[in-house]
Structure formats: structure tokens, C-alpha cells
């Protein structure tokens, strides 16, 4: 994909076994968006036009174009051969010639930052959030977190609280995106394990599916919160997740 201005606006950010995580710069840039639109098929361009505001429109176009570029490279197909299907809760999957393609992927974006995770196989989910200090955290804390998570948050103040809030949120959203359930799963009904709240990697099992283990890696830093979750035991994450 052309990189207007000669500067790359997306690139690889992390490798975890066979999983790759790409970072996409979603800063407003008319040239990039024009280039990206050329990668979108007709239905995606209709979807792009439906957005009421330029920010969401831009984030959709840039992330979908980079996703198409990455998937075409991985699958060895032309952009025109690549289509997308959607699971019952809206999670997209790649389709070539009316058949699901052998690749797993997930996309997240927040403000000026996008993450795209992909692997040859295995379910995975990714979430990124830029820290928003104006957000009503208390409403969400009472809605999406369990008792011990709320207790941990209650002990913190200022940016420490903001950091943990976004960390827990991205871990939860990455997990429900990985399963494909999305927000049909009530995220208040499970808690991020204490070890994972304090560290950056760990495992997780949903209370209702105790035999299925997921690995989680926290990708966040000073600028943003981000997490990836993937099936433990699949080849996706290898042994170093």
C-alpha cells in the first residue's frame, strides 16, 4: 500500500509466536485515507459513507485497508479475491471464493491508534484504548467490573486508577472478542485474575467454560492501553505467549 509522504503509517508492533500485531497510525491525513479507500470493496465503501463523522470514517477506512493488505500478503491472494463474512455476534472472518480463509484476525481502534492482530489459526481478540481522562469511569466501574476489581480500583487515584481501569477493560474486551461472543457476554460476570492485573501476561478461563484456557498479553504503555487474548494450546501463540 502506498505510504503518502514517504513515511510508513503502519507497521509490525509485536510478535507472539505465530501471532503478529500491527500498529496503524490513524492520525487525520487526507492522502492516506484516499489511498485506503482504493482498497475497500463496494460494500465497505457503502459502510464508510454511512458513518456520520469523519473520525470514525477515517478509522474504519485505514484499518480495513491495512487489514486487507496484511491478509492478502499472508494468504497470497489478490485484494479483489478477499471478502469478509461475519459471525453471529458480528466478528468478521476472511473469505476467499466462498470459503473461510485459513487465517484468524482481529481489529481494534481508538482515537488515533489501531491494532490488527492475526495468526494462521486459533481464535484471538485484540483491544486498544487511548486514555481518556474525561470519561465517566465510575459509571463503567459499576457496570463492567466485579467486586475484587472494583476493590482494586477503589484503592487507586489519579493516573494509577486510569491506567488500571483501561488495562482491565482492554483485557476483558480482548477476551470477549477472542471468543467471538462480544458484548453478548456480560463482562461483569468474570474478573481479570489478580496476577494479570499486576503483570503483563497470564492465563484466563471463563467461569462458564473452565476447561478452555486463554492466554492474555498486555500491550499497553504510557500512551495507550491494549491487550491481546488468544487460545492457549493453539499454534497461534507458540510457547512464548
Amino acid at each position: 500500500m502506498p505510504a503518502p509522504g514517504g513515511l510508513p503509517w503502519w507497521g509490525m508492533m509485536r510478535e507472539i509466536g505465530a501471532i503478529r500485531v500491527a500498529h496503524v497510525d490513524l492520525t487525520p491525513h487526507a492522502g492516506r485515507e484516499a489511498s485506503a479507500l482504493l482498497w475497500l470493496d463496494e460494500s465497505e465503501q457503502v459502510q464508510w459513507r454511512r458513518f456520520l463523522y469523519p473520525g470514525p470514517r477515517r478509522r474504519f477506512a485505514l484499518c480495513r485497508a491495512v487489514l486487507r493488505s496484511l491478509l492478502c500478503r499472508q494468504l497470497g491472494c489478490a485484494n479483489t479475491q478477499l471478502n469478509f463474512g461475519y459471525g453471529c455476534h458480528g466478528k468478521p472472518f476472511a473469505v476467499i471464493g466462498n470459503h473461510p480463509a485459513p487465517i484468524s484476525f482481529n481489529v481494534s481502534h481508538s482515537d488515533r491508534r489501531g491494532l490488527i492482530a492475526y495468526a494462521p489459526q486459533g481464535k484471538l481478540g485484540v483491544d486498544v484504548e487511548e486514555y481518556d481522562l474525561r470519561r465517566d469511569m465510575e459509571l463503567l466501574i459499576g457496570t463492567v467490573f466485579g467486586p475484587s476489581e472494583r476493590a482494586d480500583l477503589a484503592q487507586l487515584h489519579g493516573h494509577h486508577k486510569v491506567r488500571l481501569f483501561y488495562k482491565l477493560w482492554t483485557i476483558k474486551e480482548a477476551l470477549i472478542k477472542a471468543t467471538g461472543a462480544g458484548f453478548s457476554c456480560d463482562v461483569a460476570k468474570f474478573e481479570v485474575p489478580p496476577a494479570l492485573r499486576q503483570g503483563t501476561t497470564g492465563t484466563f478461563t471463563f467461569p462458564q467454560h473452565p476447561t478452555k484456557e486463554w492466554r492474555v498479553e498486555y500491550l499497553g504503555n504510557e500512551a495507550f492501553a491494549g491487550s491481546i487474548a488468544y487460545e492457549a494450546g493453539s499454534d497461534a501463540g507458540g510457547n512464548d505467549g
Binding site: L52, R59, E129, S184, D186
Partner: protein, 80 residues
């Protein structure tokens, strides 16, 4: 008594932002939260606000699955 659609518009005006700016209302009732570009975190919070405002059980997923704001208002009227 304001209609459900009017109350929804008020909730949107008072609580939803895109890129740090309030969503302009009235929003076309044939549009959707997805088309507005509401972030997932805000959808969850908005679902909670709808529950409180209308005393209705509404999962965050339903906020985006319902194709239009009109359908969301109809769901609220049918279930509150």
C-alpha cells in the same frame, strides 16, 4: 410527556461524544450508534444509562444490533 425518541435524543446529546465533541442532535432516527461511531466503551455506558432512564433490560450488544435508533426506541417501548 416527551416521546421515547425525544428522551433518547436527550440522552445522546448529554452523554455521547465522538472525538471529544458532543454528538450533534437531533440524530437521524434511521441512523444507528454504529453509524455515529460510538466507541465500545461508550456503548456499554450508554446501555447502562438507557437501563436507568427507561427501567428496561438492555444488553450493550442490543444497542448496536438494533439497526436504527427508531428500532432502539421501539425496543424500549416494548420492554419498559
Amino acid at each position: 410527556m416527551p416521546s421515547t425518541a425525544d428522551r433518547l435524543q436527550n440522552l445522546i446529546a448529554e452523554n455521547l461524544e465522538v472525538d471529544g465533541k458532543p454528538v450533534s442532535t437531533p440524530v437521524d432516527m434511521n441512523s444507528s450508534l454504529t453509524a455515529i461511531g460510538v466507541a465500545s466503551m461508550d456503548v456499554v455506558a450508554f446501555a447502562r444509562l438507557i437501563q436507568q432512564e427507561f427501567s428496561v433490560q438492555l444488553a450493550p450488544e442490543q444497542c448496536t444490533e438494533l439497526a436504527t435508533l427508531t428500532q432502539l426506541a421501539e425496543f424500549i417501548d416494548a420492554n419498559s
